[in-house]
């Protein structure tokens, strides 16, 4: 077994690990807002480790570029979908998503920005 194969298999193991950690972490969280955070594990580390494993297995061919595109799509869309989901959870719970007086965090009002 060459160093190349060991590195490729190590990257595959890393992808499997991130997928399992993400899935189990998401499943174990009580609040949906907490569970949302675990989406980022396979979307970032997992997808890019898989792209590197593909280039090690087959070289920089069409499959690698497609996998790299998938990794960038997952990276970009995961943040948007996570934000949209969190916003909808808040809107569903409170009837609005905008920050209001009494919320347990600081925010800048539109009038203060001007």
């Amino acid at each position: 077994m060459t160093a190349h194969t060991i590195f490729e298999n190590g990257l595959l193991a890393l992808v499997v690990l991130t997928c399992w950690l993400g899935a189990i972490g998401m499943w174990r969280m009580r609040e949906p807002m907490q569970a949302l955070h675990y989406l980022s594990l396979p979307a970032t580390l997992g997808a890019f480790a898989l792209a590197i494993a593909v280039v090690l297995a087959d070289g920089a061919n069409q499959a690698f570029w497609k996998m790299l595109l998938i990794a960038f799509i997952l990276l970009a869309t995961n943040s948007v979908v996570t934000h949209a989901s969190a916003r909808s959870f808040r809107a569903r719970e409170l009837g609005h998503w905008e920050p209001m007086d009494g919320d347990p965090f600081e925010f800048v009002r539109d009038t203060e920005k001007k």
Binding site: V15, W20, P32, V81
Partner: protein, 83 residues
């Protein structure tokens, strides 16, 4: 059986906790389970395509990654406004 197919099967096994999320609990939890499922299926499909030596089939997870983005947004919007 090669390491890619073993990894693909291992990632496919993560669909069990995802199914548990999608089939039980509040709609919010189900939506998170759906989003995770689409991501994990994308990764597993790439592994199977490489493992079986059918790399042109990587187009399918590419299409899934793009379409699941729209699907996730639609469900999130629907959940916030109507459900």
């Amino acid at each position: 059986m090669n390491p890619w197919l073993i990894a693909g099967m291992s990632v496919s096994a993560t669909l069990v906790p995802c199914a548990a999320m999608c089939l039980r609990g509040s709609p919010e939890r189900r939506l998170v389970g759906l989003e995770m499922t689409s991501m994990l299926v994308t990764i597993a499909m790439v592994m199977f395509a490489v493992g079986y030596g059918r790399t042109p089939f990587v187009d399918i997870p590419l299409a899934l990654a793009i379409l699941s983005f729209g699907g996730g947004l639609v469900y999130a919007r629907f959940l916030g406004k109507h459900l």
